[in-house]
Amino acid sequence: MNADSGTLPRVVLFAINGAGLGHLSRTLAYARRLRGRAIPVFFSLASAMEVIHRMGFEGDYFVSEAWTRSDGVAWNRELMVRFGLLLDEVRPQMALFDGTRPFPGFLDACDAYGVPYRVWSNRRLYRPGHDIAIPERELFDLIIEPGELGSEREVTRPAKPGRTVVTPPVTLLGDTDLLERAAARAALGLDPEGRYALLSLGAGYLDDVLDVALGLIGQLGRRGFDVYYSRAPIAVRDVPLPAGAHPLEVYPLVRYMRAFDVFVGAAGYNTCCEVVQSGVPSLLVPNRVAADDQARRAEIAARHGRVIVSRCDTDEERGDAVDRLLALADDLRSAPPRITLDGADVAADEMLALVGARAPA
């Protein structure tokens, strides 16, 4: 809140600790677009506070429901007090929840404090059986649905409460924030003429990615690539890397993605958007444990980016996937047309309009 002139609306952004940094990255994307027009303050269940601070924002941390041994009632009671304390002190005009389903502790704290406006950022595309009904819709003034690749802005429910806006894809960085190949290699200390592959298969606790990771590292290494493996800042255990593979711990990863000749990643929301944004030839390995439908999202990404998709379950599948990835990388005509990725700007405009700071276009 360093730049608070006292006139800008204060907004609290609540990021849940899903697998990886997806929710936190999305709230950071909103915060970056709100900067200068509002004062964003974080309440994060993702234990990556230094990431928030490095981007110039303040906030508090509370242990996630997924990590604590306390039961749901005890955790929600504690959440209500902790979040209530932040609300008491920050006195926001708006609170945004980014997550699958709002926690009772969040809702109760908002009610007890009397937050004037509530927004729910609710990324969709669930696997069959995971797309839950959302009775909480009426409890929010605005619902932002970050769209999948190819989505355009669409108001699907104009009436409040529960006004619902689907946005174009939300990305943490704008296109101009990504480093070009030479600059990215210089920033990471890589050889300008080297042949590099980057793997990022998740935070290491959602799914057992070890076999897939080691298999792909071997496949890429045998084809002459120097392989880097991205480690998330909130990993609770690190994938043990074989000799010759290097760990890489940078955030946001997308800023440096063009340093690499090829990329291999899971098909989370942010990764899919960033693969398309960076234009780096990519192999997406959908995670089958996550609630979101990563297989479907990977197929959508393949329509909009230089992407191939494989489950990579066996050595044979991994070998075939890497062959296809390299063929894709060699085909310079394979770049599809650019698509709109300004969902964070659209969402920020909607939020500001809600608190009366600016009308949406």
Partner: protein, 196 residues
């Protein structure tokens, strides 16, 4: 100052902070409304009737589940009591060294005690691999400049009666679990202190 004196001083300070927290209506104001908002008229009447019966002593008060300090990704913490490691205004590298020293004796403290790190240092890439609960105390800008002090008071109250040590215990040469247990006044045959 010796580590024993530091520990005693911290204990007195936490007691004082916990008492000061009693004057802050925060927890009461929020918790008395927990689960009571957004109820249907029927549920609201049922809850009110339940309150009256409890006030008259005709119905037992509901058991509030305890707040547990363990994390799922650290084995053996299911029934552990909190061991607060108080680390405010500390150098990041010094804190890392202290945490690593405590991590080396962690197996000898478990399953009775698990560290809970209270700190204003944002070094979560390191903390997340420790597997300890971190109670973060950030400094916020105005109008929330009072946030850190208020949170510290709340934490002192939340963990009232729990074992607590200054972070510098981790810098004591060759610190052992026996030394830690002696400092917090726990004998090797003591049951873990409850915390709820």
């Amino acid at each position: 100052m010796s580590i024993e004196e530091e520990t005693m001083r911290l204990r007195r300070r936490l007691q004082q902070l916990a008492e000061e927290a009693g004057a802050d209506p925060l927890a009461k104001r929020y918790l008395r409304r927990f689960g009571r908002l957004r109820l249907s008229p029927y549920r609201r009447v049922r809850v009110r009737v339940g309150d009256v019966l409890r006030e008259l002593g005709l119905r037992a008060r509901p058991r509030i589940p305890p707040w547990l300090p363990g994390l799922k990704h650290l084995a053996g913490t299911e029934h552990a009591a909190p061991l607060l490691v108080w680390a405010l205004d500390v150098d990041r590298e010094d804190l890392r060294r202290a945490c690593l020293a405590l991590q080396r004796i962690e197996d000898d403290l478990l399953p009775r005690f698990v560290p809970v790190l209270v700190t204003d240092v944002a070094d979560f890439a390191f903390f997340s691999r420790l597997g300890w609960l971190v109670e973060y105390v950030p400094k916020l800008s105005p109008p929330a400049a009072g946030f850190a002090d208020r949170k510290v008071r709340y934490l002192a109250s939340r963990y009232r009666g729990a074992a607590a040590l200054p972070w510098s215990i981790g810098l004591v040469p060759d610190v052992t679990a026996e030394r830690v247990l002696a400092l917090i006044g726990a004998r090797s045959d003591d049951p873990a202190r409850a915390n709820g």
